[in-house]
């Protein structure tokens, strides 16, 4: 039985599903129920089912909003719901996670805090200086991509509700008000970048510290995770439950209503859900920071002040908007989000001809996917490099240039050596030269399949030149180690130096890798 689920609960589900599979549960017909539990983004759980790319029998995104979206899309296609009745597996409120001294600087612990305070900080050109802490620099905010991840979608709803001064019945008229757009764009302008995974934001915030992010929209369970001994952050993290209200990530689980789900799958799914909801499995969710879905289980450590959270919060729950309002909110966000300025550096050295041409073919398909996924208001540059680097597009607006950029990508062929470091340096220098006036998310995406053979600059020199410093050097370099010969460790160092992320890809999955990268913007 295939079970796709929102990755926030991965550690708990890995733990209890391994036990289930070891125990050898059987259906009435005597067949062993083996659960193949696959973690992914909540949006992906639904997209895969609608597209039919993976035939899951059971699914559990992080919140009911995704079930609502999935059912609306499926009804439009088939006239039926895609996911039937659901039960909540575990609960965790969506919170604004902030370093404790920063939270205290805006009044946390003395008065209720919410989106209004976040907006005020985000609009402050002097950042933390206005709160008496110039050493903290600008206010750096983060949430995931609303089209890819539950917490990002929830953050968008919460911003819109706060702008409208409501806790329920958000309407299209509320979204059309200029004040709502101004509120949302005010907050979004402080976003360092988006992303596809809430867990990634959390982990990177705890590893990289307050220079990377001042605050991020996370789940309460992720805040609790920051107290794990594996992290050594300079300050503790606390959960702000926005005074305007928030949402629960309630992890609904439901059987997929599709032709590939047999009565035996249904029987197996019911037995597995019953197992997950039994007290023993629910108790195992608590150490991972989740609130159990059984009312008779009391809330205890780590859901307490010692782990930065308050079991008596939140005070107000917001209502999930209707499907048409969700669609309109996403449209409004696309227009008011922080736009991006992206340079794609594509390796066209001779080694890219390997695998019968599949390598260069895959890279071109992935690059087109990135161009397709970026927004109309994003700017795009393309630098193709072998032993020399050639700018093929420079800061074009995608709304106008998307077809031309796609044609350019199609026209590329592979030959020559690899001047990786020089090319990254050239792209970084060019983007830096545009200076601080560029208020977009600035990032370089590098795809390469081998080691540097032709640069005059060496790796340590490059790392010195691009290293992230929180205020002046803020361009991020995302890297893709493409194929088995790529130098993963080198590319990892480059990404880490700029507080970005390194990916691994091959021709078969490169489109998915580019899709993941596009969720950062």
């Amino acid at each position: 039985m295939t079970f796709t689920y929102g990755s926030e609960k991965e550690e708990w589900l890995k733990d209890v599903t391994a036990v289930w599979n070891r125990e050898g549960h059987k259906t009435a017909a005597g067949r062993t129920i083996l659960v193949n539990a696959i973690p992914m983004g909540s949006g992906e759980c639904i997209d895969e089912l609608i597209a039919g790319t993976r035939r899951a029998h059971l699914t559990s995104p992080a919140s009911a909003a995704f079930i609502q979206l999935a059912n609306a899309k499926w009804r439009a296609k088939t006239g039926r719901d895609l996911v039937g009745a659901t039960e909540n597996l575990v609960l965790s409120p969506v919170v604004i996670a902030m370093w404790k001294p920063m939270a205290e600087a805006i009044g946390w612990g003395k008065k209720p805090i919410g989106w209004q305070e976040i907006l005020a900080l985000a609009r402050e050109p002097q950042g933390w200086t206005t709160r008496g802490f110039p050493q903290w620099g600008s206010f750096k905010f983060g949430h995931t991509h609303p089209e890819a991840s539950n917490s990002g979608l929830i953050a968008l709803f919460a911003e819109a509700y706060a702008a409208a001064g409501k806790t329920r019945d958000l309407t299209l008229a509320d979204l059309r008000r200029p004040a709502t757009a101004q509120f949302v764009s005010g907050i979004e302008n402080a976003v360092v970048h988006y992303g596809s995974s809430t867990g990634f934001f959390g982990r990177k915030m705890f590893e990289r510290g307050p220079g990377f992010l001042s605050a991020a929209v996370l789940y309460e369970s992720v805040v609790i995770e920051s107290y794990s001994p594996k992290y050594a952050p300079p300050f503790p993290v606390v959960a702000i439950y926005p005074k305007e209200g928030t949402f629960w990530s309630d992890h609904p689980v439901g059987i997929v209503e599709a032709e590939w789900v047999t009565p035996e799958h249904r029987e197996a799914a019911k037995a597995y859900i019953q197992y997950l909801l039994a007290p023993a499995q629910q108790a195992k969710a608590v150490p991972y920071g989740f609130r159990p879905a059984l009312p008779e289980m009391t809330l205890s450590a780590p859901i307490d002040a010692a782990h930065g959270v308050d079991p008596k919060e939140p005070k107000t729950t917001l209502q999930v908007p209707s499907t048409e309002v969700i669609d309109a909110a996403l449209d409004m966000w696309r227009q008011n989000k922080r736009h991006a300025n992206i340079s794609l550096l594509l390796d066209i050295s001779g080694s890219m001809n390997s695998e019968g041409g599949a390598r260069i073919g895959g890279a071109k398909a992935g690059a087109r996917q990135l161009v397709e996924a970026l927004g109309d208001a994003d700017r795009f540059s393309l630098l193709a490099f072998n032993q020399t680097a050639r700018w093929l597009h420079d800061g074009v607006l995608l709304k106008e240039a998307r077809p031309t950029v796609a044609s350019t990508i199609d026209s590329l062929y592979a030959e020559g050596g690899t001047a990786l470091y020089d090319s990254i340096d050239a792209a970084y220098t060019r983007m830096s030269a545009r200076g601080a006036k560029d208020d977009r998310i600035r990032a370089i995406v590098v795809l390469t399949d081998g080691e540097d053979t032709n640069s005059t600059l060496k790796l340590p020199g490059l790392l010195d030149r691009i290293r992230f410093d929180g205020e002046r050097q803020t361009i991020r370099v995302f890297t893709i180690a493409y194929g088995s010969e790529a130098k993963k460790d080198v590319l990892q160092q480059i990404a880490e130096a700029t507080q970005a992320r390194s990916f691994e890809g091959k021709p078969e999955n490169i489109r998915a890798v580019f899709r993941d990268i596009s969720a950062f913007f």
Partner: protein
């Protein structure tokens, strides 16, 4: 050494005929005529005969569509019934369904249902009327109340006190005033951090307690306990009042148990108060303490009994054996030990010989949460056309929400 006695061939024949005769006699005694309804054990095969002789005959299966407010009590009762001699050959299949949802399923001919046990008799007249139009016979062979429970308000204790301080009492009218308070708790108790006043009841089209809420809203509006008239339901002033109340209500869950569970799991962030069955509130009193704090129960001045009727159905798909089995299960449910158990689940037993105020009873143990044996004035169940129009008006109001 002498040989053991041997039967002659004639002796063997006599013995064979004797055994055959016995088996035939047993067959005649136990096997019902071939015209007996299917599913009632009419098998004439040798296996069927031997099964009957050995006491392994096929069980009679009955489906009981019930409201989930009785879930824990009925699940326990089904297990106990299976262990009893009366229930040894009867398989009871519990089918959890909203009260109104079950009625619709029976009207559409859902053959797995042989017993309908909604939370109250509120929708019975509408159901009987619609069935009779189609079939010209009554769909109910026997009916008994299983256990009683009134409607109650359940609040978080910390919200109940300031509510009472502001409005003096908890009634549907004062709840309506709190729902209309635009600044929410800031205006009610100078607590802006508590947000809006959040109150819930279930979906009137799917759950009995939601429909019960609408009926009691009407009684409250007209301040009377009997004879609600159609003209009163259609009166614009009442419609406006009900519309305003309903626009303020949160949630609309499809089952009372689910809604109460949500209140306990998510705390006052989802609901400050609910209008639910007393037994459902009792079931969650203890677990709430470990999550968000104490709950408080308050009784409306005008109330109605949910008597959890048990209707043995007289439908074409229900065989005499199934009706007999349904009656046997009903008798078991009304027996004293099973009725005593219903008390533990917060019900007031339908069997009047079972006392309520006994040590260990929630009505003794949980008095500090506001539980009382005496409740307010009891309203009469309105006529089918009144209920139908109340539901239709509510639906129209929802459309404009």
């Amino acid at each position: 050494m002498s040989e053991s006695p041997q039967l002659t061939w004639m002796g063997k024949l006599v013995l064979f005929l004797f055994i055959g005769g016995c088996l035939f006699g047993a067959y005649k005694l136990f096997v019902k005529p071939a015209s007996a309804p299917a599913g009632a054990g009419s098998s004439t095969s040798a296996t069927g005969l031997l099964d009957r002789l050995s006491g392994n005959g096929p069980a009679v299966e009955i489906g009981v569509a019930y409201g989930t407010e009785k879930k824990r009590w009925l699940e326990w009762a089904v297990e106990e019934f299976g262990r009893s001699s009366a229930g040894a050959k009867i398989k009871v299949k519990l089918i959890p369904m909203g009260s109104l949802e079950a009625a619709q399923a029976i009207l559409k001919g859902d053959q797995q249902i042989h017993v309908w046990s909604p939370a109250s008799a509120l929708y019975k007249d509408v159901f009987v009327q619609e069935w009779t139009i189609q079939h010209s016979t009554s769909p109910i062979a026997r009916e008994e109340p299983l256990a009683l429970t009134p409607m109650v308000f359940v609040f978080w204790q910390e919200r109940y006190e300031p509510f009472l301080a502001k409005y003096g009492s908890v009634t549907l009218r004062t709840v309506s005033q709190a729902l209309a308070e635009k600044s929410g708790w800031a205006g009610i108790a100078q607590r802006p951090d508590w947000g809006l006043f959040k109150f819930g009841h279930t979906h009137p089209n799917e759950s009995n307690s939601g429909l019960m809420t609408l009926v009691l809203l009407a009684h409250e509006h007209y301040k009377k306990t009997a004879r609600l008239e159609l003209s009163e339901i259609l009166d614009p002033a009442f419609q406006a009042w009900m519309g305003a109340f309903e626009r303020g209500v949160s949630g609309l869950a499809n089952s009372t148990g689910t809604m109460m569970r949500d209140m306990v799991l998510r705390g006052p962030s989802s609901y400050d108060g609910l209008f639910v069955y007393e037994n459902v509130a009792i079931d969650y009193l203890k677990s709430a303490e470990g999550r968000w704090g104490e709950l408080r129960i308050a009784y409306p001045a005008l109330n109605m009994w949910n008597d959890n009727p048990y209707y043995v159905l007289n439908t074409p798909w229900s065989t005499p054996e199934q009706r007999k089995a349904a009656n046997a299960f009903l008798d078991f449910l009304l027996s004293e030990p099973v009725q005593k158990r219903s008390l533990e689940h917060g019900f007031r037993p339908g069997n009047p010989t079972v006392p309520i105020k006994v040590p260990g009873s929630p009505f003794v143990e949980y008095q500090r949460f506001g539980l009382k044996v005496e409740i307010g004035a009891i309203c009469e169940t309105p006529r089918a056309e009144v209920i139908n129009n109340l539901l239709a008006s509510w639906q129209r109001n929802q459309g404009s929400r």
